[in-house]
């Protein structure tokens, strides 16, 4: 039986740059007790579509141009704002992506939890608080009687998302909209939250619209899937159909872009490793206290890590947020002061090296950063950006530099005509290409790639991964590839190192680790990966389009 039926919904944004058709005439329906997943890349309009049902998009610039959305026979789009308000949070609950910013930092969790009950159910505070405690208990928050008086910042990210879920569910809605509820969370936390949503849905028998960019997450959760692209639904169907016989090209591209499998052939390692870390430890001073408080022990971000990287190898480094994997990468390049231990690069210990001796070595080791928006100087053109390392290290002269920059742009698949453009004129994927170009400009031997594809959409991610693999092969690079995403690492790395709370807990060949994880934490990580349970017919490699 249909709970919500959306017909021909169109939402446009009117900005100074012109009109943008965020949602371009979509239709879908959700039945009682069903989980519908809406899948798409960023900008596909999947969130806007759901927000506009509840009048939660900013208007202006947004404007609902047409459509009906019948929720139990009442049209959400044409009803009075005040009537719709009584449905929001009461009959339709919603969970947002980022639990860190979606809770009011100035009010206690309890105060925020009881609001739907106060305004929709007309309960008094006592009754509402009692109900809130039960609800917190149900979503798995320990000691709810005390925690209800805590402020959001006293909870971790996963716990906050549980609070958000409790808040959305407390008025017992019939429909729950989840907007990328696990995207901001670590993979093990993600698994917990997903199973919580699933359990609640079963127990209450409610309908769920689950918005996600991640097909693997959706595969294990949804009954039906709608795939969105550029404001339109390109395909709808039961979950198995979508994954096993996708009809549209776009769905096929999406599926093919999911990194899977691993590198087939291990490269031949030569005698001397390029990089050796010996009991590397990096501490951050703990100065959270005021000057009156006693000095506390320093926080060990990286604790006694020893590993080697062979020439020509891609070593994957995985771990959850706060595991110290980024700090390890920065410690290798001496971007943060190392507390103890040694970093031996091609026989030279970098720790405590004088700047004069370090500078020529920096040419030989480079870094690619996660955020392509922050890693490029907004006031320098592509040319300036790529020419700077070439000129500074004397690898080019004023006369040859233009040709060299153009060659670099060819290498990373950037159109030559864009040489005088500024970073803000490029898309995220193109920016990452510029950043990669800058990193390989000096013909380095070692590259530390810190989550280079985490900020990118899955199809772009596939292209950048392919580019990285091609460049590694072409220039015989050695790479430390840092990521939280195990399937990406599995796809690209020869060996994998697992970090947990600053320590290296396991290091093994990629397939060895996946087949037979040796450490408890690795096992936990691996089991948390949402997997495409079904085995669709698709290539094991993403499309290798370079340009």
């Amino acid at each position: 039986m249909t709970l919500l039926s959306v017909e021909n919904l169109a939402v446009h944004f009117h900005t100074r740059a012109g009109q943008m058709r965020a949602v371009d005439g979509i239709s879908f329906s959700v039945d009682h007790g069903e989980i519908l997943a809406i899948v798409g890349e960023s900008g596909s309009g999947k969130s806007v579509a759901c927000y506009s049902l509840l009048n939660l998009i900013p208007q202006p610039p947004g404007k609902i141009e047409s459509g009906t959305a019948l929720f139990e026979g009442r049209d959400l789009l044409s009803m009075q704002p005040d009537t719709l308000r009584r449905i929001r949070g009461n009959e339709i609950g919603i969970i947002f992506q980022d639990p860190m910013t979606s809770l009011n930092p100035y009010l206690t969790v309890g105060e925020q939890l009881i609001e739907p009950l106060l305004y929709h159910r007309n309960l008094n505070r006592q009754q509402a608080l009692k109900r809130a405690v039960t609800m917190l208990d149900e979503v798995g928050i320990a000691d709810p009687e005390t925690r209800i008086h805590s402020y959001p910042h006293e909870f971790s990210g996963g716990m906050r998302q549980r609070v958000m879920i409790a808040m959305a569910m407390i008025a017992e809605p019939k429909l729950l909209i989840c907007d990328e509820p696990t995207t901001a969370l670590d993979v093990t936390i993600q698994a917990q939250i997903l199973s919580l949503i699933k359990a609640l849905q079963k127990r209450r028998n409610i309908a769920v619209i689950f918005i996600s960019h991640d097909l693997a997450v959706v595969a294990g959760l949804a009954d039906r899937v709608a795939v969105m692209k550029e404001g339109r639904i390109v395909e709808t169907g039961p979950v198995n159909d979508i994954f096993q016989n996708p009809h549209s090209d776009y769905t096929r591209t999406l599926l093919a872009s999911i990194p899977s499998g691993s590198k087939p052939n291990l490269p031949q390692f030569c005698e001397q490793p390029l990089l050796v870390l010996d009991r590397l430890t990096t501490c951050f001073p703990n100065n959270s206290g005021g000057w009156l408080s006693r000095q506390k022990a320093d926080k060990k971000a990286v604790n006694e890590v020893s590993l080697t990287i062979q020439r020509g190898e891609i070593l994957g480094l995985v771990g959850e947020s706060g595991s110290g994997k980024s700090t390890l990468g920065r410690s290798i390049l001496q971007l943060v002061p190392v507390t103890r231990g040694s970093v031996i690069f091609d026989g030279i210990d970098l720790v405590g090296l004088r700047q004069k001796r370090m500078t020529p070595l920096r040419r030989r080791m480079q870094m690619i950063f996660q955020d392509p928006y922050a890693s490029l100087n907004p006031r320098m053109t592509v040319f300036d950006c790529l020419a700077e390392p070439l000129l500074y290290h004397g690898l080019a002269t004023r006369r040859t530099v233009t040709a060299q920059v153009l060659a670099l742009m060819d290498d990373v698949g950037l159109a030559r005509a864009a040489i005088r453009k500024y970073p803000h004129e490029f898309s995220g994927g193109q920016r990452q290409r510029i950043a990669i170009g800058r990193a390989i400009a000096t013909k380095p031997e070692l590259i530390i790639a810190d989550e280079p594809v985490s900020a990118l959409d899955v199809t772009i991610q596939a292209q950048i991964l392919a580019l990285i693999l091609a460049l590694v092969e072409k220039h015989n690079l050695t790479m430390l590839f840092i990521s939280h995403d195990l399937s990406v690492v599995r796809y690209i790395a020869d060996r994998i190192a697992v970090m947990h709370r600053g320590e290296l807990v396991e290091m093994a060949g990629t397939e060895t680790l996946f087949a037979n994880p040796g450490h408890d934490y690795s096992r936990k990580l691996l089991s948390a990966i949402p997997a495409l349970s079904t085995n669709p017919a698709r290539s094991t490699r993403p499309p290798t389009e370079l340009a």
């Binding site: 009461n90 910013t101 979606s102 930092p105 100035y106 305004y119 808040m167 959270s288």
Partner: protein, 311 residues
């Protein structure tokens, strides 16, 4: 929390010492002694006066004994009004200035916050432009221009309100309070608009709306606290500004408050009075900054949390 207040109080001591020392040295460096001004005074009279005011001692001794006086709450005798102490002058002027500052602050906060919040609710509409244009007018119309113009219009042409005095005629407190408060109302309006705009675009406001709360609750309960943080941070500087603003307003409206004493003392080179009042003002300002800091911490649970953790 108590620990935080204590530590801030401790930090205020060096600030005050710097103020006292700097003021003391500045005043002592002033060219020409306080009695060398107008007519020739017999040298023995000068000597007697200097002895009375301890000017015959070496400077460090003067400084130390002044510090000692201050510690006892004594600001010393006035140079210009023989027989009266600076304490008496301050005690006479302070209640008036405090009352004026209080009304002005009230005008500033009430009008400023309301205008700012109203403007932020519908940005880039007439509801925004109107109060914000008024605020811009308030900022560009300094008190020494605003005051006389108000006097001219409401006091002299329309004859609605008295143009000078304090507490003598009905309504004579209105114009000074408005004159002093308007500029700050304008600043506060801009600050609270900015703060509210920032907060209203936060995710947690969307959450509150998604819960189906009435817009009134969304604004007053969820947005206002965060939106007013910039205003609270401005209260300390605003108070300091009000004090110096009282110089002008009390002069224009001939109000016998501290500000007018101070300006007169400056013209008369009444050094002990300047010294005393400066130290007194500085203490007040430091205390008010402290108060503003405490309020800022109190309304922000995150900062409260950090403080309690650092214990």
């Amino acid at each position: 929390m108590l620990r935080f207040i204590l530590s801030r109080l401790l930090q205020a001591i060096p600030v005050l010492l710097v103020v006292i020392t700097a003021t003391f040295l500045l005043v002592r460096c002033a060219p020409g002694g306080p009695f060398s001004a107008e007519k020739a005074v017999p040298p023995e009279v000068v000597r007697a006066l200097e002895a009375q005011y301890r000017l015959d001692q070496p400077i460090w001794q003067q400084y130390l004994s002044y510090l000692g006086d201050l510690a006892r709450g004594e600001f010393g005798p006035s140079f210009r009004y023989p027989g009266r102490t600076v304490n008496e002058l301050i005690a006479g002027g302070l209640p008036i200035t405090a009352e004026l500052a209080f009304y002005a602050m009230l005008v500033a906060i009430l009008i400023g916050v309301c205008a700012g919040v109203i403007a932020a609710l519908r940005p880039n509409t007439p509801q925004d432009y109107l109060p914000m244009s008024a605020a811009m007018l308030g900022i560009c119309m300094p008190s020494f221009l605003m005051g006389p113009l108000l006097v001219l219009v409401f006091g002299i042409w329309l004859e609605w309100l008295p143009v000078s005095g304090w507490g003598e005629l009905a309504g004579d407190k209105i114009l000074p309070a408005i004159t002093l408060g308007t500029g700050y109302a304008a600043y506060i309006a801009r600050l609270s608009r900015g703060g509210m705009l920032e907060v209203m675009s936060q995710d947690y406001i969307r959450t509150a709306r998604a819960k189906g709360l009435p817009e009134r609750v969304v604004v007053l309960k969820h947005a206002l606290r965060g939106g007013l943080i910039p205003v609270v941070a401005f209260l300390g500087p605003a108070f300091a500004g009000l004090l110096s603003g009282s110089f002008v307003v009390e002069t224009i409206f001939q109000i016998p408050g501290l500000g007018r004493f101070y300006v007169q003392a400056a013209f008369n080179r009444d050094y002990t009075m300047i010294l005393g009042t400066t130290v007194f003002f500085a203490t007040l300002i430091v205390l008010f900054n402290l108060l503003a800091d405490i309020i800022a911490v109190w309304i922000n649970p995150k900062m409260r949390h950090q403080l309690s953790r650092s214990r």
